[in-house]
Amino acid sequence: MITFPHRHLLGIKGLTEQDITLLLDRADEAVKISRQREKKTSSLRGLTQINLFFEASTRTQSSFELAGKRLGADVMNMSVGNSSVKKGETLIDTAMTLNAMHPDVLVVRHASAGAAALLAQKVSCSVVNAGDGQHEHPTQALLDALTIRRAKGKLSRIIVAICGDVLHSRVARSNILLLNQMGARVRVVAPATLLPAGIEQMGAEVYRSMAEGLKDADVVMMLRLQRERMAGSFVPSVREYFHYYGLDAEKLKAAKDDALVMHPGPMNRGVEIASEIADGPQSVIEQQVEMGVAVRMAVMETLLLSQDQGPRP
């Protein structure tokens, strides 16, 4: 019997340590399924999953798609481009249309913070937030946690340095919440223009230099810097950014010898991370992708199987 007292997964906020542990334990089981020759189970057979992506994302969308299929669900992908229709109207209108088709779970990505929560109020099925603006990306934080836990054996009392564009990063917000909830020490390393207001009170120690921020770190988590933010608006140039904040062999030396190097992808090689590091022995970037499928299987299975199985009104 699964006890998971949430109908949706809209963010890490609101999840207890027990909730997170339950999802990670279940994801460990899902990893085994994905590594078998026969990868398909029947736990969600007959259920319908719709992936509703208002923002293009090949990686996350295919990860959710594969997760659903491995659980035996029927998966449909809806990619809603940013057409001339106003974004919000598309969101509610599309949601209501899809809702009438009786899906069991909606996986939503949208460029606006709070979009998944708004949608969850309007539909009668479970909603999984696959990234809403600069707010949260809970399955990314869960897959990062799973990757760390499998490598380090624990999450508590480890030091995680999150480096780069924290200001615009939903991945950073979800990770800060989750790692604090699990008892890890979180640091952020970034130029001041890429840090949100009040970061000191968000549960992270703030460092301005990689040498100090990475010192004794168990995990170095790099964030993607959007191309339009590189030249002059938030940092002066790609060259200057890489000089101070790009992860190369020299900077990585400050961290523990067995520190993990992570990146949520897609990477800008030579901007936030040197190729030799991304492809190096400490990198677990490929494992993160594998854990992504497992975590999403765990999330959907947990949400759907902990609900009443009877027909909905």
Partner: protein, 430 residues
């Protein structure tokens, strides 16, 4: 011609005479006040008067709301002049200034006259149109300020739009001064926090929403105050949200500038925490600030550093509010709840009733030169009768306004408007 009216046994609070006593209000058949006070019945009640016992109730000069957005012309589905006036009457507001942010923008004589005529034919309360300071509210060319003023524009404003160009503002204010008109502006820096949707700070950071820093309000306000001093124009900071802004206006006043300020009732009674998880009815411009700022603003109001309270009534529909927070429109309706929400400040002991009514009626009437804000003999009998202690709950379905975007849904209030008179005529009673 109406029947004379006598309201008996009520507490009368009239800031225009600093009067607070129990007595009687006598209204003549011309809709004007004959007498108001404890000795009002010395001459006896007029023959044929309708006499009403109002024991336990409090009469104040009808409220004057200097910042009301209406949907007419252009967005009548949100609010018409008529529906706004009914909301006003329900809330004890007997006069309001309508903002020029309509479609088309009120920047031509014919449009000022349209608002006046529509109000005369359909409105329950006095409606005074404000006209656009710049054509189309674009901030580039001044409107026909003289002609608009002569047509009856109550003041000039750029509505929701700040005037970014300092030279345009200087010339418009210099010109407006010659016609004795107040220039009322909201200040918002064009660049700083330009993509912001709520108060900058920890809360916005957690919600992943771009913030609006305090300086985005304060810096352009300081500029406007300097231009007001330079041009000697009458300037009104239409909607300030920060104690630094109140201080800036006060400092300019002490330097001799003819400047005043207003604050919305929302910024006196709500704070950024009310946004919770993306509640768009609390998305306002200027944004709701922190609790410390709110408390400081209540103190500034009590001390008279902030002159007036406005509702900043801004009707929005599902099309503009049922959206992700950043995509939703700013604004909240407020005419119906203005008095009740303001009475929270009285009941909490933070603002004396005399000052509160001054800020809601007497002072705005004086700033904008409206015939209102007093219960003196000879004045138009615009009277709001309150039960200061009646508890009630605001339910959405009971709202009179065409739009339902109230930040006070299901809120509990103590104190309610029980009767509203405009020119001696009863326009609302609960």
């Amino acid at each position: 011609m109406t029947r004379p009216l006598v309201l008996q046994n009520l507490r009368i609070v009239d800031p225009s005479r600093n009067l607070d006593e129990t007595g009687t209000i006598v209204v003549g058949n011309d809709g004007r006040i004959l007498a108001a006070g404890k000795d009002a019945l010395n001459q006896g009640a007029p023959a044929g008067a309708f006499v009403k016992d109002c024991a336990g109730l409090t009469a104040v000069p009808g409220l004057v709301d200097a910042r009301v957005f209406v949907g007419e012309p252009g967005s009548e589905y949100r609010e018409t002049i008529e529906s706004a006036s009914r909301a006003a009457a329900t809330g004890g507001v007997t006069s309001f200034i309508s903002m020029p942010d309509t479609d088309p923008v009120i920047d031509e004589i014919a449009l000022v006259e349209f608002v006046q005529k529509t109000a005369r034919d359909k409105a329950l309360v006095n409606v005074y149109p404000a006209a656009a300071l710049t054509k189309g509210l674009l901030g580039a060319e001044m409107s026909e300020l003289g002609l608009l003023r002569d047509a009856g524009a109550a003041c000039f404003t750029n509505g929701r739009q700040p005037v970014h160009d300092s030279l345009v503002l200087r010339r418009a204010m210099t010109y407006a001064r010659e016609f004795g008109a107040v220039v009322a502006l909201e200040t918002r820096d064009k660049y700083l926090g330009a993509n912001g949707v709520m108060n900058e700070g920890l809360l916005a950071s957690w919600l992943g929403l771009p913030g609006i820093p305090r300086e985005a309000e304060i810096i352009p306000l300081e500029r406007d105050l300097r231009i007001a001093a330079l041009t000697k124009a009458a300037y009104h900071a239409a909607e300030i949200s920060l104690p630094e802004s109140a201080d800036a206006v006060q400092a300019a006043r002490e330097r001799g500038a003819n400047v005043t300020s207003g604050i919305s009732i929302n910024h006196l009674t709500l704070n950024e925490n009310d946004i919770g998880e993306y509640r768009t009815f609390f998305k306002l411009s200027p944004p709701l600030r922190g609790e410390d700022d709110r408390v400081a603003m209540v103190e500034a109001l009590a001390a008279g550093k902030i002159d007036i309270i406005v509702s900043s009534h801004d009707p929005q529909g599902a099309d503009t509010k049922r959206l992700p927070f950043a995509d939703a429109a700013d604004g909240a309706i407020g005419l119906e709840t203005l008095a009740a929400a303001a009475l929270r400040l009285y009941h909490s002991g933070q603002v004396p009733l005399m000052r509160l009514i001054d800020a809601l009626s007497t002072r705005p009437a004086a700033i904008f030169g409206l015939e209102a804000g007093t219960l003196k003999p000879g004045a138009k009998a615009d009277i709001t009768v309150l039960d200061l202690d009646e508890p009630w709950v605001l339910y959405e379905k009971e709202l009179v306004s065409r739009s339902k975007n109230t930040p006070f849904e299901n809120a509990r209030f103590t104190g309610r408007v029980v009767q509203t008179y405009v020119g001696g005529k009863l326009v609302h009673s609960s």
